[in-house]
Amino acid sequence: MPVKFDYLVRETTSNLGRNVTITLASIMTVAVSLALVGASLMLRSGVENATKRWQGGIEFVVFLRIDATQQQIDSLGNDLEESPEVSKVVFVDQQQAYSEFKSLFADSPELIDSVTAEDLPPSFRIEPVNKDVDAVEALGLTYEGRSGVDQVVFASKTIRLIQQLSSRLTVGIFVIAAFLLGAAGLLILNTIRMAMFARRREIEVMKLVGATNWFIRVPFMLEGLVQGLIGAFLAIGALAAFKPFFQKWLPSAQDIPLVGGFQVSGGEMTVIFITLGIVGIAIGAIGAGIAVSRFLDV
């Protein structure tokens, strides 16, 4: 039996309007939890994109002392160039380091003013032939004791740290989001239960005159779906608005030596948004489904 469209629209909107406050509560809970899920997905793909650049070769940086002589720099540079274990060497002098520093702290000019090119150490960025982590570390350490060298920073460690941090953050956020999604589902369930209670006389009459179970159920199911969907839309809107800020807030390419930018592409955002939409609908459907099967004894 076809359920008429205008009937569904009328019933669903009147159900939603009947309990405005609790409907808003469930929509907001869905929105917040989905925004958290979305943010952690964005963080994860940002980190993935950042570390993807490293697949070309695990690198390390040899930072020189600020007072290193030109002779020391040249000698180290030559050794690196000639070393059979090094495939590529990039020298970053104080001016280049300073311009990176300036672009990195573009929004805090007082910091830029307090630092001059002379305060920043020059460095060599190195891509080794053998990219095994241990080999890279062994190779890097051979340069640590040399005159003029301040310290050797291994990108591998940095990357591991970032990956670890991001995966822990992601897990943490997901746990919180899961609890919130559970709460959202329960809220939706209760909203629908209240709508059913408000309409119990009509439901009784519908059963009496032979309305099919689905005819009675569908408006309530839709009510749950609409709540989930609106929550998902709010979360998507918030993330879309938040994305430029997110991009700025995360470390940029220059912030952590040799780590790529934490970019999240438009395609990835679309996938995240679709995921949120599906999760929102699913939460609505689960809440409504339980309410309909538990409390609508037809």
Binding site: V205, K207, L208, V209, G210, A211, T212, N213, I216
Partner: protein, 225 residues
């Protein structure tokens, strides 16, 4: 039209509402169910509507064993059965017209059918002029007429009435009984549970008496006791 074969219904608190009942009701009959409160009259009615399911025995309604009816077919059974109650069960937020139209709307009847059937049935029950009133603006008798209109608008084969005059004064009750009699004359089978001695004794129709779950009397053209 309606057949009960060895039907027993026990509630969870082990009250026996109906014990080994055997009844045969032909198409077009008018049957009174009488007995004290709690004797099992309402259970009898609710079994026919499949609001309750018996532990034992078979119930046939319009040729179908409703015990074997799967859940999704129950609504279609109920479309053949109209129901009226002591408390009318009208929707207070809907007008008289909307209350009756609702019964057609929720079984998917098109607007055109609703717009032609509802005024006709309201005229039949004598409430054509009150179609825009709300139930609270009507007297008890008028409210029961609306509920009869709602039960009958879909032209069911069977009309079940559970103490339809229980809340009405004797004069108003007579009006409702005349209406049910008229509906019965169109060929609709009517089963009515009642306490109203006057009505049963005046109408002289078949009487089935239930006492603590057992059918103790089944009398054609009977009286209350």
């Amino acid at each position: 039209m309606i057949t009960l074969e060895n039907v027993t219904k026990t509630y969870k608190n082990s009250t026996v509402a109906l014990r080994d009942a055997n009844v045969e009701i032909a198409k077009g009959e008018f049957v009174f169910l009488v007995g004290a409160s709690g004797s099992g009259k309402s259970t009898f009615i609710r079994l026919l509507n499949k609001e309750e399911t018996p532990e034992q025995g078979h119930i046939y309604v319009a040729g179908k064993d409703i015990g074997r009816l799967s859940g999704w077919k129950v609504p279609y059974l109920r479309r053949n059965i109209g129901c009226i109650f002591q408390d009318f069960k009208l929707l207070p937020t809907k007008t008289v017209f909307e209350n009756v139209a609702f019964a057609l709307e929720v079984i998917g009847r098109p607007r055109s059918v609703i717009d032609s059937q509802v005024p006709a049935i309201l005229d039949l029950v004598g409430l054509g002029h009150k179609s825009d009133s709300f139930p609270t603006e009507l007297s008890g008798g008028e409210q029961q007429r609306v509920s009869v209109a709602r039960a009958f608008v879909n032209r069911p084969l069977i009309l079940l009435a559970d103490e339809p005059t229980g809340n009405l004064d004797p004069a108003t009750s007579v009006g409702i009984m005349k209406l049910l009699d008229r509906i019965n004359k169109t060929g609709t089978t009517v089963v009515m549970a009642t306490h109203d001695r006057g009505i049963v004794d005046t109408m002289r129709r078949r009487v089935i008496e239930i006492d603590r779950g057992s059918i103790v009397r089944d009398q054609a053209r009977g009286v209350y006791e």
